[in-house]
């Protein structure tokens, strides 16, 4: 009789009942097969030990909560420019804005205290900070730590033509040279005014929020209570091509990039304090700290479980390229002379990049 195969010998170790009787009888009486069986047993034991799962059992309830949050989250919105948002104010109230605001504050580190509003940050470029969806949900909402006041929140206004859009926004409307395949028709023009968000830290509110969450709040440093940060962005303008299903097939937007101002506190103080607040994941905090180097890079929080990020050159500027993992949406964002431009749509990255590079 021929010797059973190495596969049969291997199965004999795990599932002897799955091996035929003649094969089993042969192996029992065959020195060569017994040697091979011993070798298979030894290899299996060593590899099995190396592949043993030594990690603690996962928390199924917590896992489900995370997945439910991810599946119920709204569709990923890879672009960050105010022109892409339905209502900029709504967006700023979302938790992701907290990360943005923290990032802006960080980027201003190194600026001394001021008695009046002092510009501490002007966006020169953007860079993506990857967060998991669960992290975005868990980020501290700044309204729990103080008062947030929005001004100029009039939302997007539809205007009849490009000339009106340029006149109202004061921005040059990017001209799209050639539309990507599948995008047809005339665009709609939308304009948004300048938007300001002012955050005034309140030690009392912060302590209350922490107590409600059952967490201990780090003691605020002296002078922080009542100090403010103001973030200005816009105006902005957008051209939107809509597909037959009503989904924007292509958005080309431009806006005055965010600028931040401070009042009444050393920025290092506020930065370090915000970074110590419960809820900000450690690796995200570390990443945000790296943005202090030049004081001009705007961190763009993106859900990394939905979106992949990379960089590319557009017009000699480094641009951030975002693409949803299912490749349904792509966007490219870059900043030039204090103006942020975004090209986004139901397209792939090559298509958004070629639109971006051909903008007039």
């Amino acid at each position: 009789m021929r010797h059973p195969t190495e596969g049969v010998l291997r199965r004999l170790l795990d599932e002897p009942a799955g091996v035929s009787d003649p094969d089993r009888r042969h192996v029992a009486d065959c020195a060569q097969c017994l040697t091979n069986l011993a070798a298979a047993r030894s290899d299996a034991a060593v590899v099995g030990a190396a592949l043993t799962d030594t990690t603690p059992a996962p928390d199924v309830a917590a896992g489900w909560a995370r997945l439910a949050a991810a599946t119920h989250a709204t569709a990923p919105r890879p672009a960050a420019a105010p022109a892409r948002r339905g209502r900029a104010g709504e967006w700023l109230r979302r938790p992701a804005a907290a990360a943005l605001a923290v990032g802006v504050v960080l980027a201003g580190a190194g600026t001394a205290a001021a008695n009046d509003w002092l510009q501490i940050f002007r966006t020169e470029e953007v860079a993506a900070v990857g967060l998991r969806t669960a992290d975005l949900v868990a980020l501290p909402d700044l309204t729990a730590y103080g008062d947030v006041v929005f001004t100029g929140d009039d939302g997007l206004q539809q205007v009849p033509d490009a000339a009106t859009a340029e006149e109202l926004s004061g921005l040059d409307l990017p001209e799209v040279d050639a539309l990507p395949g599948g995008v047809i028709g005339e665009p709609e023009y939308q304009v948004a005014g300048e938007l300001s968000a002012t955050f005034t830290f309140s030690a009392e509110k912060a302590a209350q929020a922490a107590a409600e969450a059952g967490q201990s709040l780090p003691a605020p440093p002296p002078g922080l209570d009542g100090s403010s940060v103001r973030l200005d962005a816009g105006p902005g303008v957008a051209q939107v091509w809509t597909s037959s299903s009503g989904i924007p097939a292509l958005v080309v937007g431009r806006a005055v990039a965010p600028t931040a101002f401070s009042s009444g506190v050393q920025f290092e103080t506020l930065r370090d304090y915000l970074l110590s607040l419960p809820g900000l994941p450690g690796d995200v905090a570390d990443q945000l700290r790296t943005f202090t180097a030049d004081g001009s890079t705007l961190p763009l929080p993106v859900p990394s479980d939905y979106v992949t990020t990379s960089t590319a050159q557009v017009d000699g500027e480094e641009a951030t390229v975002l693409e949803t993992r299912d490749r349904a949406l792509a966007a490219v964002v870059w900043v030039e002379d204090g103006v942020v431009t975004v090209v986004a749509g139901v397209l792939d990255t090559d298509e958004v990049l070629s639109v971006a590079r051909a903008l007039g």
Binding site: G7, V47, V60, G63, T71, D326
Partner: protein, 168 residues
Amino acid sequence: MATSVRPDLEEVFRLEYARVVGVAARVLGSRDQAEDVAQEVFLSFGRSRVQAGEAGGWLAVAAAHTALNLIRSGRRRTSREETVAATEHAVVPDVADTVLTREDRSRVRAALATLPRTQAVALVLRHSGLSYAEVATALDLSPGSIGTTVRRAESALRKELNRHASSD
């Protein structure tokens, strides 16, 4: 774009989550990373039309592939926290463990990513407790070929360990 999520997602999740994390953890050696992989896999499953009866095998194969991709693309984090966590949890009451260092484990995991993909996935599924029949169904292979596939993978990984042991 909003995508609809299949209605049986929660039921399947509660049934399969621990095993899916386990499959990924065998490849990655980190629960945090394994849970990230599991989330990604269940998100895909939630948007898929995989039949409920095939969900277990589909999820296990997807977890193995995703975890192997993670190793292969070198995206693994090697943060201090993770190293500490791995050390804390590396308590294995197994005789073979006494001769395997943590470096050996890492080496085996790295070598996994270099194996032919079917071999690597079959090996991980088998060591995750799937039967030969289940592995065969999940990978659309004949049950008779699983033993050979697993054996070859183990032999290759053992050689990888021996190669490093002799060069140390």
